[in-house]
């Protein structure tokens, strides 16, 4: 695949989009783990929601 004289521009834009999207995914995944861990910590210390269900309960 020949990209012509402006190859670097094309490659840079694709790489940048890839990088930013990857960053978004990583951020959201890390955030999810952190929130989960903190919820578990809170539950371990005996705090529950008023409804009596556990906060990590997904069902």
């Amino acid at each position: 695949m020949a990209l012509g004289p402006y190859q670097s521009f094309i490659v840079t834009s694709y790489a940048l989009v890839g990088a930013v999207v990857a960053l978004l995914i990583v951020w959201i995944a890390v955030d999810y783990r952190r929130q989960k861990a903190r919820l578990r910590e809170l539950e371990a210390s005996g705090i529950t929601r008023r409804s009596g269900r556990t906060a990590t309960d997904m069902s």
Binding site: M1, A2, L3, G4, P5, Y6, Q7, F9, I10, T12, S13, Y14, L16, V17, V20, V21, L23, L24, I25, I28, A29, D31, Y32, Q35, K36, R38, L39, L42, S45, I47, R49, R53, A55, D57, M58, S59
Partner: protein
């Protein structure tokens, strides 16, 4: 599963848990197909290979506006219907929308450099997208500035709606402002005049990016719901009698 059911954050979480893997998978498949097709697409007779930037630029630009639209609907949900998930949706969408807007600007500028000979032109379309980007950042700053999310939600909702009304105005005023000084740069790729060889990969990429947004948005909403639960639990913890 109706909208009423979705109002319950716990139901929403369980639905998200079921749907997310499928969405992520579909996004990945479509992205791969889209990237393959973009790579195989022929060169444009005028732009050469740089036309390939279009396949990622246009979906990002489309999402930049689409996400603001989603946030506007969510803002209505906050202000009018008081839907409990509306401000969660609005807050979670803002950073993702800002990222897509940023990418639209950068890929546009990388496309513009070989085509127009400059990275940046104070052209109507570019300028209004830049202002959109600034508005995203302002909205994120607003969310960050107020510690209590339900109070921040109303302010952010109003700002989002004003921004939604303002965007076309900005677009037109910028058009008017700029044409006084210099002719607007013509985007050669008009949607309708596009050749099938470009149109198909572009559409696939657009759908793939939209799916990507929905996946990220649902995941970010889930994080936000958990964050609020933690906040409530911590407040309860603080309120327990000290021994």
């Amino acid at each position: 599963m109706t909208l009423i059911d979705l109002a319950n954050p716990t139901r929403f979480l369980s639905l998200t848990a079921k749907v997310l893997p499928w969405l992520a998978g579909a996004t990945a498949v479509l992205l791969i197909v889209g990237l393959y097709q973009s790579a195989m697409a022929p060169d444009d007779y005028q732009q050469g290979a740089t036309v390939k930037i279009m396949f990622i630029h246009v979906p990002n630009a489309w999402l930049a506006m689409f996400v603001w639209g989603i946030m506007s609907v969510a803002a209505l949900g906050t202000l009018v219907w008081r839907h409990p998930l509306a401000d969660v949706a609005a807050k979670a969408a803002a950073p993702i929308g800002a990222a897509f807007t940023f990418l639209a600007l950068v890929t546009g500028s990388l496309w513009g450099r070989p085509m127009w000979g400059t990275y940046w032109e104070w052209d109507a379309r570019l300028t209004s997208v830049l202002i959109l980007f600034l508005m995203y950042l302002g909205l994120m700053a607003l969310w960050r500035a107020v510690e209590d999310p339900s109070r921040a939600a109303r302010a952010a909702a109003i700002l989002t709606l004003v921004g939604a009304i303002n965007l076309p105005i900005i677009k037109f005023s910028v058009d008017w402002w700029n044409t006084l000084h210099q002719p607007a740069s013509v985007m050669r790729m008009g949607g309708s005049s596009l050749d099938r060889a470009f149109l198909v990969p572009l559409l696939v990429m657009a759908i793939a990016f939209s799916l990507l947004f929905i996946t990220l948005h649902l995941a970010a909403m889930r994080n936000e719901i958990l964050r609020r639960r933690i906040r409530t639990l911590q407040m309860m913890q603080a309120g327990r009698p000290t021994v």
